[in-house]
């Protein structure tokens, strides 16, 4: 692993984030707007006025919003890889001594970094909008988000493997985005059926874990660590599958 090569690619991907309006919107402005509008719409709604009159609908939704923003990494990764492939850039980079580990590593680092920025924005904005969670567990919440970002990179790679064009990649990415977004973040209130489905969705473990942390559940509670370990395992498995599939079938 050559750090110089990885950092050079990370720098390029971050420049893309800043210089390409569509990427900037999707990665930075979209999470901010989402938090703002959800805050505006749900901060005044009390779902359980008798039992918990202090808890607003927005308080219930915020942990899911944190997961929500990381899920969109699937689309940006899929688009980036498809575009780079279409423009012949992947082939060109393949003629240099860059290893696939260095190349994939740069994408994991960049997207993890972007997810940290996204979470900082969403956390800051949600508190400004009136969220009342316990920020004691914020550090562990970040780790949950980082694993979900890694998972999203893997799903983005799987999408880019299937898709032939960047346009197709955008569409296909929703196969992975939609269930995670609606069934794994509790933006939609959970039912018996959605809870069963969510057992297979990494975003559900992230939302549950962050909800527990922000509800003040102590870190000594093993359930938090079990959820974190589950997300970590799923994410590592998915990113490995994504890298292998893309290397074998996607880089053509």
């Amino acid at each position: 692993m050559n750090i110089q090569k990885i950092l050079a690619l990370v720098k390029v991907q971050l420049k893309k984030l800043i210089r390409e309006p569509a990427t900037l919107f999707l990665m930075i402005l979209f999470p901010a707007m989402l938090t703002f509008f959800f805050g505006l719409g749900f901060v005044g709604i009390i779902p359980d006025p008798i039992g918990h009159p202090e808890v607003t609908q927005f308080d219930v939704m915020v942990p899911g919003l944190y997961a929500f923003v990381c899920i969109f990494i699937i689309m940006t990764v899929a688009m980036t890889f498809s575009e780079d492939r279409e423009r012949g850039l992947l082939r060109r980079m393949n003629t240099t001594p860059l290893s696939s580990g260095e190349f994939m590593g740069s994408h994991v680092i960049t997207n993890t970094f972007i997810s940290v920025i996204q979470v900082v924005i969403v956390v800051g904005l949600s508190f400004l909008m009136g969220y009342k969670g316990d920020i004691g567990g914020l550090g562990i919440a970040f780790i949950f988000m980082i694993f979900l970002s890694v998972c999203s990179v893997g799903l983005g790679l799987i999408t880019a493997t299937i898709a032939k064009t960047p346009g197709a990649a955008t569409g296909i990415s929703f196969i992975f985005i939609m269930p995670q977004m609606f069934l794994g973040t509790y933006i939609i209130p959970p039912t018996g059926v959605t809870q069963v489905i969510s057992m297979f969705l990494p975003s559900a473990y992230v939302t549950d874990g962050i909800t527990m942390l922000f509800n003040g559940v102590p870190l000594t509670n093993p359930l938090i660590w079990i959820k974190l370990a589950t997300v970590a395992l799923i994410s590592v498995a998915i990113v490995i599958v994504g890298i292998q599939l893309f290397k074998k079938y996607g880089n053509k």
């Binding site: 090569k5 420049k15 082939r91 003629t95």
Partner: protein
């Protein structure tokens, strides 16, 4: 037949692996198939160190496929090739350290400036920062591209993008450069300027493999020319030798005579 002459030359096994010899590239019985389509069909060829070799052929003749195999983008179906003494089947990492590739399609990051594009590929080759700066500056100066390199590639004309495409290939100061139709889409003036630039590589003792559709380009630049068709080498020699052999006024006539005859003969 030229093919027979080339094959005979390579019959001695000592000729195959040639790390310290006079050849930069040795292609031995190379076959590349895509399902049932044979893109390269038993190609044998030697390219000398410091030589500017023109690879000519009609569309779909197998020029780009050959370059893709030599640069490690495709695996040979049969046979092999040695680039700088390293086998394309086993030593790709070493080969990639030696080569610079200018692909047929202009592959540049549009949101980066020209300079950033060039420097990025310097980094991907693992060059020291200082050397990247120096080499970038000298390339930009040589190509008269310094001012343009400050702008994002998104705003470049087609010709400028192709120029950048070529400069990126040369950032690592490669010993062997594969230039796959580097001037396609350039206007006559830009093409002439690029010819001068490619000619200057010869002075730097680089081995250059140039594929082109512009026969006059190959004639003006190449020390030797190989014409391939249907994945087979059908002519090999200096432009002068080929013109004499085929009683032609220029290389274009040679090209038309050889490839046209094959069409007439139904080969």
């Amino acid at each position: 037949m030229v093919i027979k002459e080339v094959s005979t030359k390579l019959n001695n096994p000592q000729d195959i692996f040639d790390p310290d010899g006079e050849n930069a590239i040795i292609i031995k019985d190379l076959v590349k198939k895509f399902d049932d389509v044979i893109a390269v069909n038993g190609l044998n060829l030697e390219i000398k160190k410091g030589e500017l070799f023109g690879l000519l052929g009609p569309n779909g003749a197998g020029k780009t496929t050959t370059i893709n195999v030599l640069s490690g983008l495709l695996k040979p179906s049969e046979g092999t090739a040695y680039v700088g003494g390293y086998d394309v089947r086993n030593d790709l990492k070493k080969i990639k350290e030696l080569i610079g590739v200018c692909p047929q399609e202009a592959s540049v990051f549009k949101f980066l400036t020209g300079r950033e594009n060039i420097e990025l590929f310097g980094n991907l080759h693992g060059m020291p920062k200082k050397k990247i700066k120096e080499r970038t500056n000298s390339l930009l100066k040589l190509a008269n591209f310094t001012e343009a390199s400050k702008r994002k590639a998104k705003g470049y004309s087609g010709g400028m993008t192709r120029q950048l495409n070529l400069l990126i290939a040369l950032i690592s100061d490669p010993k062997i450069a594969f230039l796959d139709e580097p001037t396609v889409g350039m206007d006559a003036r830009a093409r002439r300027k690029t010819w001068e630039f490619i000619g200057s590589l010869k002075e730097q003792n680089k081995t250059v493999i140039l594929t082109t559709h512009y026969i006059e380009e190959a004639e003006a630049l190449s020390d030797r020319v190989g014409i391939i068709d249907y994945g087979e080498l059908i002519a090999l020699g200096t432009p002068k030798e080929l013109m004499e052999k085929h009683d032609a006024k220029n290389l274009e006539e040679v090209f038309l005579k050889i490839t046209g005859r094959r069409i007439m003969e139904g080969i």
